[in-house]
């Protein structure tokens, strides 16, 4: 588990480094999902290093596409993209921007940016996988604020109706969106009961506990006969790892000046492995 924790730390530190290039970005959306990214890419998903187009790979896509800056370092780490491409984040002509683009970035399985489409696309992937006789799993990470989009619930109906047992959704339930707390803006609770009522298998997990998350994903993959899609509600902290971001919700979009960045890096370095 130390390795998975280390990769989550790597994801956070690289995010700070890359956002320094763009001078603005979504730190906290990455920090809430860093352990989830780590477990998915280094433990749960069937992937082949250096082979982003391997057709039997598990698929991953993000409705919360603005957290892509945390995903790109992992793609580079897995030899899906070159280091110098990573280091050119957001520069003119570079394929890496604030949101993931499947046409430009090897290892991105689906483009996103517009909130609420990803679970539908994941339904399509999972269904097509079954039609094609493939065994891959489709993972879709969505934000809790994203649940405000109506299309998510169209997909919820569709996934359950079509018994998409190889579709695994993950809600990064960090409680915040751009304008404030999800509860204050348009409440989406009770999340667990909603997904259960829509016919999904649900699991609640501490999204920063790599051991718990890894165990859950492994358990899910042992059930090959599952007919219900799965929704994991990952309890997370927006800005996890940087104290002043965890307690100040206004950091959905922001820029750390060099002194704040140094404090953030020190705090992340000090995170327990």
């Amino acid at each position: 588990m130390a390795f998975l924790k280390d990769r989550a730390k790597f994801c956070r530190l690289e995010t700070i480094r890359l956002i320094e290039i763009a001078k603005v970005g979504h730190y906290t959306s990455v920090f809430s999902a860093a352990e989830l990214f780590s477990v998915l890419y280094y433990d749960a998903m069937d992937l082949r290093r250096g082979e982003p187009k391997w057709e039997d790979r598990d698929r991953f896509m993000m409705g919360k596409g603005h957290a892509a800056v945390g995903l790109f370092p992992i793609l580079a780490d897995l030899d899906f993209i070159d280091r110098d491409v990573l280091d050119g984040y957001t520069r003119l002509g570079n394929p890496l921007g604030d949101h993931p683009d499947m046409t430009k970035v090897p290892g991105i399985d689906f483009s996103s940016g517009s909130i609420g489409h990803a679970l539908s696309a994941g339904c399509g992937m999972a269904l097509a996988g079954r039609m094609l006789g493939k065994d891959f799993y489709t993972y879709v990470m969505i934000g809790d604020g994203e649940l405000q989009e109506g299309q998510v619930w169209e997909a919820a109906l569709f996934g359950a109706h079509n018994k998409l047992g190889k579709l695994i959704g993950i809600i990064d339930r960090n409680g915040y969106q751009l304008d404030g707390s999800v509860d204050d803006i348009i409440g989406v609770e009770p999340i667990v009961e909603k997904w259960q009522a829509f016919g999904w298998e649900t699991h609640v997990v501490d999204g920063h506990d790599v051991a718990a998350v890894a165990t859950l994903f492994r358990m899910l993959k042992t059930d090959h006969e599952r007919t219900r899609p799965v929704m994991i509600i990952a309890e997370t902290v927006k800005g996890k790892g940087v104290s002043y971001m965890e307690t100040e919700p206004g950091w959905h979009l922001g820029y750390l000046d060099p002194s704040d960045a140094a404090r953030a890096i020190a705090e992340i370095e000090a995170m327990e492995i």
Partner: protein
């Protein structure tokens, strides 16, 4: 699977016992499945309207019923294409092009996924169902989306050929059809080339350029005018994007007047596309764009509407005559 239908039911009446032309879409897809293509067809609670019911019955494992969730259908089709399927999804053009505009832009076109979007009952063909169901903006919207090809076949036979041509086409396509039981323009199936206009006549007084459902009545109008002695050319501009610039420029070189005819707002559709080509070349041609004149269409049976908007053969002929006589 489809259950047997009562012969009193609306669904039964939509099937081929009453309206044989409705099967064109299914027939074309069935041919592709037979050829081993990874086709999947999807609909949003309209399998009897768009004629996919036949495909559903024959290939239930390749048919997806999305229910009344058009946006989910478009995004899911993109997901299916991303892992190697060839999805064809169909619903009313009004809902597909307008309700799902953003899903089409982001998930299909931006990502360059080979999804085929079938917008049926386009224009005012849904008649008395009301303006909500009329699609008179879809060509303009779809045409402005990068990477997206826009095709409006004139009849079932051409639709079949369009789908055949689409099979290996590397871009997403919006295919605009009417009711699937339009009068036949092409008795024989002629190979369709995406981006190439079909020239029926050339003329030195006027060239009529029509697309989709207006090809049949506009062609009748052209024939009547020719019979009366006018030199009238005719182009079926089935591919609205990318538009056949060469055919337009050739027509403009031959005739000093061009009349575009479409079951669509005159803004942004076929007429707009032709105007862009002519303007960019600075050609001294009198262009008249005929269609719905930037208004919401009335509610009436389709035949009444076509007469009202001069989109039937008689109306188009009258419109062309006014243009020929310098009255418009």
């Amino acid at each position: 699977m489809n259950k047997p239908l009562s012969d009193k039911s609306w669904q039964y009446r939509q099937l081929n016992a009453v309206t044989p032309g409705l099967d064109a879409l299914s027939d074309a897809l069935i041919e592709l499945v037979a050829a081993g293509e990874p086709i999947v067809a999807g609909t949003a609670d309209l399998q009897y309207s768009n004629g996919l019911a036949k495909f559903h019955t024959l290939h239930p494992d390749r048919f997806v019923q999305f229910g009344i969730s058009e946006q989910n259908m478009v995004s899911a089709a993109a997901g299916m294409a991303a892992v190697g399927m060839k999805p064809y999804v169909a619903t009313f053009a009004s809902f597909l092009a307008l309700l799902c505009c953003e899903q089409i832009r982001m998930d299909v076109a931006y990502s360059k996924l080979p999804v085929r979007l079938i917008g049926h009952h386009a224009g005012i063909s849904l008649g008395f169902y009301g303006t909500s169901h009329h699609a008179t903006e879809d060509l303009a919207i779809m045409r402005s989306i990068a990477n997206l090809t826009v095709i409006a076949p004139a009849d079932g036979n051409q639709l079949k050929e369009v789908i055949k041509a689409a099979n290996d086409y590397p871009h997403p396509i919006y295919i605009r059809i009417q009711r699937g039981r339009d009068p036949e323009v092409y008795a024989d199936r002629q190979p369709f080339k995406i981006g190439k206009a079909i020239s029926h006549y050339s003329g030195t007084d006027l060239t009529i350029i029509a697309t989709g459902s207006t090809v049949h009545p506009a062609l009748e109008a052209a024939r009547a005018l020719r019979a009366a002695g006018a030199s009238v050319g005719f182009l079926d501009m089935a591919t609205v994007k990318p538009i056949d610039r060469d055919a337009i420029l050739e027509a403009a070189g031959q005739s000093p007047r061009i009349l575009t005819v479409e079951e669509h707002n005159v803004l942004g559709g076929l007429g707009g596309a032709v105007a862009e080509v002519l303007a960019s070349e600075g050609l001294p041609v009198k262009l008249t764009r005929h269609g719905i004149y930037d208004e919401y269409s009335l509610i009436a049976p389709p035949t009444h509407l076509y007469a009202h908007y001069e989109l039937d053969a008689k109306g188009i002929e009258a419109r062309a005559t006014r243009l020929l006589e310098g009255r418009a």
